[in-house]
């Protein structure tokens, strides 16, 4: 037998000589692993929700505007200026790009919506319903009725706005909005549906109209849009894809600006960075507590095994051999805890991911760093978190064994055996 394998075997036997201690320590480490993965998963779930609501719900991953549109979002600064563009051609050209899976044109307006005696200010959101559904998820949140059809004076509003205006499906809504020619546009629309996102600010303020209807209301030509939102193939590569796209659009046609969501909402990107920092902090605290618990047990273990070490020393083992055994004990302990930890963590995480507690009925939604958030505690799991935590756990067990191992090498056999 190779000399090293002997020490592994000694370490393995040592562990099971004190079964209770081993099991408690291992369960402590396994619990630490579970906690770290769950806490990080919860924060990641919140981040995913923020990105989802901040980008997928309405924004889109990349936006194309006229070079003069941002940051003021002046209503007159449509793509291609006052004359507009050949929208179909531009959309076709964007969608021909291999990294872009969908493109949707949008027009924004602000106006007053009235029904009966009630009036409310709202944001008018002119979209191409078919295209929009490939870029954002807002239109998939229809809670009642259906999507509006172009050129039929149909409108879709948030549930909270419908409540405040006492609207039901089929009701007539007067929409008044400042038009591009300086006049006030106004028209009568029929409510065909309501949407519910669960976030008050959106449900109370947004009204969705077909693009052509809003263009008509605001006295704009069919070629005039404020924005084209894009979905890209690789979400994490968005900034790269955006800059490449900007370069390819340069020089031909109207002056365009291509902006990835990370630039559109820098505070959101920062909040996500902040939460990542908090994640590390939490995982760090959990593991430092765990390392302390393990080191503690192992240290106490080595104190109590002074006599045992002394006997082994007296039998001719080198100090290095004893130290090595203790470190190996730590490694085996780490491996066992890891197996136990992974075995209990995975089912919990998968279950929590698939049926998260939905607190929407108890708590309302709220905003966070300018993005809306619903209180659904979904755990998001990636593959790197459990692996990083696993490595941290293993290192914890080994590091915790170092000091006791060093102590164990320094047991003077004669004194210990004489019980001094």
């Amino acid at each position: 037998m190779a000399p090293d394998a002997v020490w592994w075997r000694v370490a393995w036997r040592n562990l099971w000589r004190n079964r209770g201690r081993t099991l408690i320590t291992a369960s402590g480490l396994a619990f630490g692993y579970l906690s770290a993965v769950v806490m990080v998963g919860l924060t990641d779930g919140m981040v995913a929700e923020l990105i989802e609501n901040g980008t997928r719900l309405m924004m889109g991953q990349v936006q194309v505007h006229s070079a003069e549109y941002l940051p003021e979002r002046n209503m007159h600064r449509t793509i291609g200026g006052y004359d507009g563009v050949d929208l179909e051609a531009l959309l076709a050209r964007l969608e021909a790009d291999p990294d872009i899976t969908a493109a949707a044109p949008r027009l924004y307006g602000g106006g007053l919506l009235s029904s009966g005696d009630e009036t409310k200010a709202g944001l008018l959101y002119g979209v191409d319903p078919d295209r929009e559904q490939q870029v954002s998820t807002l239109l998939s949140r229809v809670s009642q009725g259906r999507l509006p059809v172009p050129d039929a004076y149909e409108i879709l509003v948030g549930v909270e706005m419908a409540r405040q205006l006492s609207l039901s499906i089929g009701a007539e809504v007067v929409v008044v909005a400042p038009a591009s020619d300086g006049s006030m546009g106004n028209d009568l629309f029929t409510l065909v549906g309501t949407f519910e996102t669960g976030t008050p600010a959106i449900d109370a303020n947004y009204a969705v109209l077909p693009l052509s209807d809003l263009q008509y209301l605001m006295a704009m030509d069919p070629g005039r849009v404020h924005e084209i939102a894009l979905t890209v193939t690789r979400a994490w590569d968005t900034p790269l894809i955006a800059s490449r796209l900007a370069a390819s659009l340069e020089g031909s046609g109207p002056q365009l600006e291509v902006t990835p969501w990370t630039d559109l909402r820098p505070e959101l990107a920062e909040a996500i960075g902040l939460m990542d920092a908090v994640n590390y902090l939490i995982a760090g605290i959990i593991f430092s507590m765990a390392i302390f618990g393990v080191a503690n047990t192992m240290l106490i273990g080595t104190f109590e095994r002074r006599r045992e070490f002394a006997v082994v020393r007296a039998l001719g083992t080198t100090p290095l051999g004893i130290g090595r055994t203790v470190v190996y004990e730590g490694m085996i302990l780490g491996a066992i805890s890891l197996a136990v930890g992974a075995a209990i963590t995975w089912p919990i995480v998968v279950w929590w991911h698939n049926s998260p507690p939905d607190l929407t009925s108890v708590l309302g939604g709220f905003s966070f760093s300018g993005s809306q958030w619903r209180p659904i505690l979904r755990i998001e799991y990636s593959y790197d978190t459990p692996i990083i935590c696993a490595v941290a756990l293993f290192l914890t067990a080994v590091l915790a064994a170092l000091y006791p191992a060093w102590k164990a090498t320094r047991v003077p056999p004669a004194d210990a055996l004489a019980d001094r």
Binding site: N18, G20, R21, I24, T25, G28, F31, G32, S35, V38, M39, P71, E72, R73, N74, M75, H76, G109, G110, G111, L112, S114, D117, E118, T119, K120, A121, G122, L123, Q164, V176, A177, P178, P200, P266, E267, E270, A271, G273, L274, A277, M289, F292, G293, N296, T297, I300, F303, E304, R307, L359, G364, G365, F366, S367, F368, S369, G370, P375, L377
Partner: protein
């Protein structure tokens, strides 16, 4: 028996110190993170509440749900509400202010955006909210201002407004008509709270009353308190004072600002999860350490029993040891956590390095100052101590039972 337990703690000084250290650090950490979370919450509440409707809001009964002008408070109700606020005992009330709020549309040649328009009394508002300190350009409203508006920096950008620019506010008046009002920008503010910077306008309350056709009316009397903990007390005091007035409703900020309430509760929930985990780890460490101390001392306990102690008595010795350890380390941990946090107490802990833009700290209409000043609640500190003691007690039970059921002959037979 206690003496025996205390002695046996002392005899194994090194082991006892290690066990105690686990508890001390755990408790100190708990106190530290709890007081920071508490401090962040108070800042968050205060910031949201000073811009919003105060710790306590007095409104017409239906106003919270409808948000409509028809549910306003007239001159008589306003007078009565003010008398009630002034009658609140003690010095809990820092300031109060009348507001006439309406949702409307702000439009310029460039764009139109839905916004919240607050008609305010410039002088009282200055004492109430800190919005006047957030001036980016121009100045805050002053008494005697007429057609002046104080707008957020994002709104100004979107509408292309500068100090001195005119723009139009449109809203539904009390009579039900859509009325426009031309105002001029007198100042631009930046709160770093996206909702406020884009969606809030202050105008003089007299201008709002004239424009909306509601002479002498207010929609909310907002009351600012010294600390948010007094809210419930002041709410019930005001409710008693206004018991006869069916046209007035007293709301605490949790009801008046449900969004802030859910955000805070959510944050609390996260804290509870984190603290439970911390507690569980501390509990495991304690259990572990106490177990170790017993399993390794079979012979010692065997000797005790051989000398005449009953099994139950041995059990009590072990239990007493556990309790003694927990109590001592509980107190030490509390003091340590307190001292550690006290070091940051006055100046606060600066987290601003974590994010560049201030908006990253904004949530639910309020924001946490990146410099967090911890707050101690004696009740919470005691609760932490109490939990640690309970965990210590529970963790000692099993080892005590093991020790009491020792087979004396078996334990003494083998030389360790």
């Amino acid at each position: 028996m206690l003496k025996l337990a205390a002695r046996s703690v002392g005899r194994n000084a090194q082991r006892s110190a290690l066990t105690a250290a686990a508890m001390v650090i755990g408790l100190a950490l708990l106190i530290f993170s709890r007081s920071l979370a508490e401090g962040a919450h108070e800042q968050w509440i205060t910031s949201a509440i000073r811009i919003g409707s105060g710790h306590v809001a007095i409104q017409a009964p239906e106003y919270l749900e409808s948000g409509k002008l028809e549910h306003r408070i007239g001159a008589v109700g306003h007078e009565r509400a003010l008398r009630a606020v002034e009658s609140v005992s003690g010095d809990q009330v820092l300031a109060h202010t009348p507001r006439l709020s309406v949702d409307g549309l702000a439009s310029s040649a460039a764009s139109a955006l839905p916004i919240r328009i607050e008609g305010v009394d410039p002088e009282q508002e200055r004492a109430f909210s800190d919005l006047d300190e957030k001036v980016e350009d121009g100045r805050y409203l002053e008494p005697g201002d007429r057609l002046h508006a104080y707008v957020g920096v994002e709104l100004a950008r979107r509408l292309g407004l500068k100090v001195g620019t005119r723009f139009v506010l449109t809203a539904q008046s009390a009579a039900g008509d859509v009325e426009g009002q031309l105002v001029r920008v007198v100042g631009i503010f930046r709160t770093s709270i996206p909702e406020m910077d884009q969606g809030l306008i202050h105008i003089p309350i007299e201008t709002a009353r004239e424009w909306l056709g509601t002479p002498d009316a207010v929609t909310t009397v907002a009351v600012l308190l010294a600390t948010s903990r007094d809210t419930d007390r002041v709410v019930s005091e005001l409710r008693d004072a206004l018991a006869g007035a069916s046209d007035l409703r007293v709301l605490g900020w949790r009801q008046a600002a449900p969004e802030l309430d859910s955000a805070l509760r959510m944050d609390d929930y996260g804290d509870y999860v984190f603290h439970s985990i911390l507690f569980a780890i501390v509990a495991l460490a304690i259990l572990n350490a106490v177990m170790m101390s017993v399993l390794g001392r079979r012979r010692e306990f065997g000797l005790l029993q051989a000398l005449g102690l009953t099994g139950a008595q041995t059990g009590w010795v072990v239990f007493g040891e556990g309790l003694f350890l927990t109590a001592v380390s509980g107190v030490v941990g509390m003091v340590l956590g307190f001292l550690f946090t006290w070091g940051f107490f006055r100046n606060g802990l600066d987290f601003s390095g974590l994010a560049e833009s201030e908006s990253a700290w904004a949530s639910a209409g309020g924001m946490v100052d990146p410099v967090i000043v911890p707050i101690f609640h004696s009740s919470q500190v005691l609760l932490s101590l109490y939990f640690i003691l309970i965990i210590g007690t529970l963790a000692s039970i099993y080892p005590a039972m093991r020790a009491s059921k020792l087979d004396v002959a078996e334990a003494m037979k083998f030389d360790r």
